[in-house]
């Protein structure tokens, strides 16, 4: 493939405002959007702000919106666009702008702090902690999360509603809560938090989060819906409620 020129429109600016700037740059074989952003940075705009680390879809740093779609820039191949197509790159919309493609994602780190920690059950009599693969498969799916926060970015509960943020943890943290709730060794109880402070009820399962997950985690089906069912079982099922008076936690 011969080198070809592309037309990129990249959002430049900060919290006070900004605009799309045009760049024309050569694209090499196999390149991804992040390569092109790096080339612009090295050749035309040394100070263009962008986050990245692994460049292989493993760290979740280079999240942005490419032609309006939330994506990891390192996993978006340039050859997926039509020749001659203008490619627009903008920062994630749900988070405050720091500069150019870099946003303030501290909301997510705050939500992570609010989740009660993993608390293991006692060891078995032989000193081991036996768990079977079939019992952890579903939790291992949740542990694939690379914290790119694209699911948070696309979630309509907070995307255009900053005011919902204090009362809503977002899909990433529903996945985290589900991973703790379904962990065979965990003994902490987070149901009250899930129902109240995490705001699970705001989610009306439109599956936007699942669609953008670069790790293909079934966020809605495997994490959010089972959590919703647990909330219903715990708080709204009269028989379970009666039983709950006599037992502690049902994993």
């Amino acid at each position: 493939m011969a080198e070809q020129q592309v037309h990129m429109r990249v959002w430049r600016g900060d919290a006070n405002g900004g605009e799309f700037k045009d760049y024309r740059i050569a694209v090499g074989e196999g390149q991804v959007v992040l390569d092109v952003i790096h080339a612009i940075q090295a050749q035309q705009a040394n100070d263009m702000a962008v986050r990245w680390n692994c460049k292989a879809g493993k760290c979740g740093s280079c999240s942005a919106e490419v032609n309006g779609k939330p994506r990891l820039m390192c996993m978006t191949r340039m050859n997926t666009f039509e020749p001659g197509e203008t490619i627009t790159v903008s920062p994630m919309r749900a988070f405050p702008i720091i500069r150019d493609l870099v946003t303030d994602v501290s909301y997510n780190y705050q939500k992570a702090k609010e989740i009660p920690a993993f608390k293991p059950k006692a060891k078995e009599s032989d000193g081991t902690r036996r768990m079977y693969q079939e019992d952890i498969d579903r939790v291992q799916e949740f542990h694939k999360c690379i914290e790119c926060f694209l699911c948070q970015n696309v979630c309509h509960v907070i995307r255009d509603h900053d005011d919902n943020k204090p009362a809503f943890s977002g899909p990433r943290f529903f996945v985290r809560l589900a991973s703790l709730e379904m962990h065979p060794l965990d003994s902490n109880d987070r149901m009250e938090l899930i129902k109240q402070k995490a705001g699970l009820g705001y989610c009306n399962i439109t599956k936007c989060c699942t669609e953008v997950c670069p790790e293909h985690i079934h966020i809605t089906d495997n994490a959010i819906i089972p959590l919703k069912e647990r909330v219903v079982d715990r708080f709204y099922d009269p028989i379970a409620k009666l039983m709950g008076l006599f037992s502690t936690k049902n994993k």
Partner: protein
Amino acid sequence: MAQEKYETHEYDVVVIGAGGAGLRAAVEASAQGVKTALVCKSLLGKAHTVMAEGGIAAAMGNVYPEDNWKVHFRDTMRGGKLLNNWRMAQIHAQEAPDRVLELEEWGALFDRTKEGLILQRDFGGHRYARLAHVGDRTGLEMIRTLQQHAVHKGIDVYMECNLQRLLTDGGRISGAFGYWRESGKFIMFKCKAVVLATGGGGKAWKVTSNSWEYTGDGVTMAADAGADLMDMEFMQFHPTGMVWPPSVRGILVTEGVRGDGGTLKNTKNERFMFNYIPEFFKAETAETIEEAERWYEDKRNNRRTPDLLPRDEVARAINSEVKAGRGTPHGGVYLDIASRRPADYIRKRLPSMYHQFKELADVDITKEAMEVGPTCHYAMGGVRVDADSTATTVPGLFAAGEVAAGLHGANRLGGNSLSDLLVFGRRAGLYAAEYAKGMSGSLTVNNDQVESFARDMLAPFESTGNENPYTIHADLQQCMQDMVGIIRVESELNQALEILQKLKQRAKNVKVEGNRHYNPGWHLALDLHSLLTFAEAATLAAIIRKESRGGHTRDDFPNTDAKFAKVNIITRMRNGEMTQTEEPLPELPDELKALLEEKK
């Protein structure tokens, strides 16, 4: 006064770097009851550990009950061509299983054996299946577990904060100085002890698995503060990086592919590794394909496939095959698991490799062979430390993980890095906390020192030069790739030194545009100092070691030399100049010597 001029924080222990070693150190220091800060250049959870794939080496004996710390010790020492610090190798092998179980205690979910225990996988240079793992994303599990644990322990975390210089008071550590990436404003820590957990300097090479963070900061800060560096000539080139397309060249392909049954082949469809079994590993390596095939299922009666020789051996072999004209058109060799294992098994064991090749190279690894070649991966050398306490030669300065030297000798075995982070990260936190508790009297920060650091760091804005930091970095990477790569020769190393001197001059004329607000051009301009320091130390040490051993291969001295088997190359920075000396290795006790002499 500097304290008032710049944002200042006071701690007992400041940990720089939040990969596995830094997180584990911070958790331990905090558990010891000292006031602890964790400072990292990226967001929390994005450090290089997140990219580790294959697993954590620990002789738990869950798959092979014969395994124990003695065998792990022996494998580590032999993998390092016996240049390892024996005491570090012993501590590492003894403590790794507890550190893995501790992660489970904190919520990690490793893949399981049928009996419900932690499953262990085969890896290069390890006699038994020894790596605790989660598919091929073990690093992610490890960093997330440590991160969540640290957050719940209430440790103060300073994210996207780049510490660049250590402050000293009468030769002791008194703090650290750097900048917030977001605002560009300076920040100062006053503290009794610093733990360096900053990783290596692999970003000085062009084809590399390392991210932008790997700029040799820790090594440089330590050297600038007067600490000894050791073994800087030993860089690991991982045998299997992606080679095509060009934009992904260098991205890591886990050794787990070979651990799980993949084999290396040249364009003549030969399993060429059988032609590259060195004398040193003959007794423990299969000589025929038949024996190698039997080994996967029966390790007691068969010897290991040469596909799983230590990384230095495999990287050299691939290099030779390509040079001999048996490489792929893109300059690599084939790594084939598609024809050897069922598609479902491959997707289950190697999900992220499957994904990576599919998305980035249009290759389905369940149907076709991968194309791979060596990529710069890991620094065995770094800051010289005390084996038990991780103390450097500067009082109050500790170092753990890739930034520290000694454990891996001349070559690191796969899987020994994650265990290193846990074992020595914990020890660094513990001994830094002890040191801080034991320190009486107050520390003062030298304002002249701080002001001179601040001036240096702002110089690129005021420069009258016109050098682009990205261009200097690219030229450095090309130089190290071409002249201080897998195969080295004196004339080229000397040439590299000349180029490095010119690059140092050019770096003084670096000019950045824009302002201090989240400005990657400025950040890179500041990183050039550490990249160049790391590169120079590596090149100088490579010139002195006139032999081939582990991750250091000299075309002009192709064999090992008994004289160099007994020494480490020590690098010191004195008055802005690097000096190097050969110093004797610590003497191995007889009972450990006996372990090494056991055959097979």
